[in-house]
Amino acid sequence: MADNEHKDLEKRTSFREIINLISLTGFVYGPLDDRLSIREALEKNLKKPVPDHVNWLFCFGGVTFLLFIVQAFTGVLLLMYYQPTTAEAYKSVVHITNNVPFGWLMRGIHHWAANLMSVFCLLHMLRVFFYGAYKAPRDFNWVTGVMLLCVTLGFGFTGYLLPWNQISYWATTVGTEVPSAMPVAGDLIKMLIRGGSDISQATLTRFFAIHVLILPAAIAVFLISHFLMIRRQGISEAL
């Protein structure tokens, strides 16, 4: 009975078409699909069944990845206008928010999605921990996950300095002061992070390079390994 109802519904509203459209499979008809059978691959991937015990708590990892995609997109757009020099950084950020069309929106999204990404990263880790999903054979995926957490926090720490305003300058001063409490190599580490004895153009250049080049490369490597492993090993069984 329910079956018939749905069929009628789909006939009436071309539901299938709309659903295809929003699941992106609608875009890849035609010659491209003939050669590469993208549609089939996508269908296969999108229709991969998950175990019965999966609930909304299992979404945190996916949400974190979605937020990362948002960050990459808005970050690239910000990069079009941002200028990583002590003289221009703050001015360019104000320019982005006040004068660039939708700059306020992109910067706002980048800001909030950054915060949420860290939050969901941690929630994802807690879920994995309390479900015992880190145990063998998924133990190595836990390792890549921890690396991803480090990279995410690194993104947060380096990105925070880039607007070059009072709060970012002093937060970075405090943050980079932390390792200097370590014996022997502490001060050396502090100098290495800062690129000098205090926060300066050298620090900004460094943090900018790390934020837009080094960490994106690193996160790509760990994300790929993280996803490959989860695909190969599947979601852990219910306890």
């Binding site: 329910a2 749905h6 539901f15 659903i19 929003i22 069944p49 104000v94 928010t97 006040n98």
Partner: protein, 421 residues
Amino acid sequence: MLVCTLLLISSVIAVAPVFAENNGCVTCHRGLDGEAQKVVTQWETSIHKAEGIYCQDCHGGNPLVDDDMDKAMYQAKGFIGKPSKKAVPELCAKCHSDTVRMRKYNVRTDQYDQYKTSIHGIQLEKGDTNVAVCSNCHGAHDIKKVNDPGSSVYYTNVPDTCGKCHADSQLMSKYGIKAEQLALYKEGYHGQILYGKVKDKNPALVPNCATCHGTHGATPPGVKDVAEVCGSCHGTVLDKFREGPHYAALQKNGSPKCYDCHGSHKNKMLAPEMFQGVESGHCGACHQGNDIQQLAKDIYAVILDTKGEVDRANKEVLSIEYSGRNNQDIEDLMNEAGTYYKEIGPLTHSLNLEKINELKTKITANTDKVQQTVSEFKQGLDMRKKNLVYYLVIIVLIVILLYAKLRVVTDEYERTAKKKS
């Protein structure tokens, strides 16, 4: 035993300073009462006591004697008792005009010379003992440093100190001087600031009586000097005033002086409204029914226009204060406009309409830009709010479709499960 000895020694040490005075006048007068004792207690709080100036330095006498009044205050030995009022300035000058002696205190030594040139000094020379001598302003025994708030010549105490005589109408009527200046000063703008009644103004920077009238060489400023006297603080205003026609008239006819518009003791800060009307201090009080009144009207119109523009722009800035926009750019523009706006006041003293208009142009260039920026931003905000509605509709639609998709998938899944079973 040792403890007893130590206690004895320490008690002697503790009591020692009391006997260290070792001055017969002080020892004896302390034991008296009334005025004779008061002079000691007053002197003890004075700068003279702190610097080791004792009774005998002014009054003479022998301080080594503390048991025989006749010996201590033996006139042939130079005891002068209470000096006559006429003798006071010279007595103080004995030390205070001594450059060598005063050098280490880094204070002036020309007060006595100055005093002799003042009205007070001249009248005293004529034998008039109503005038102020040193002790009338500085106190006799309780003399304190000028920067001691307890001193009668501390800058906030000066008006009341002068007022002791100059607000005494009975005394002043003998000389044909008005006695209302103190009361007027306290009502005036300078007085209000001095007594801390005007917010954000520093009392230490306003004139008291002495600033304009002088201290030891107390003389009212001459009629033609008034502008210069006011100008010694209000330099920018004086510069602009010199450029204008009023200054030339002042040099020629002795008016208009600063206080013709601003008042003297009860002085006031003038509002743009002074360019209108005929009451005293307004343009119409001297100029009536001629081209000059037209100029006043024009200046008034320019100032009012400019003020309106600045107020409007300020209101606009305030309206988006909490919008989350970084307003540094418009605040910079407003600050610059504010600086130019502050220049209008002094510039009106030149009565140069052209220059005032130049300022107005500079100011309105900024305020126009601010108003334009704010209105564009507000339009943007409205657009954002509208767009938010559209996007929310789209998002809700997507959620509904996803829910539908979920139901389709769930049904399929349940059906296959049934088939299997």
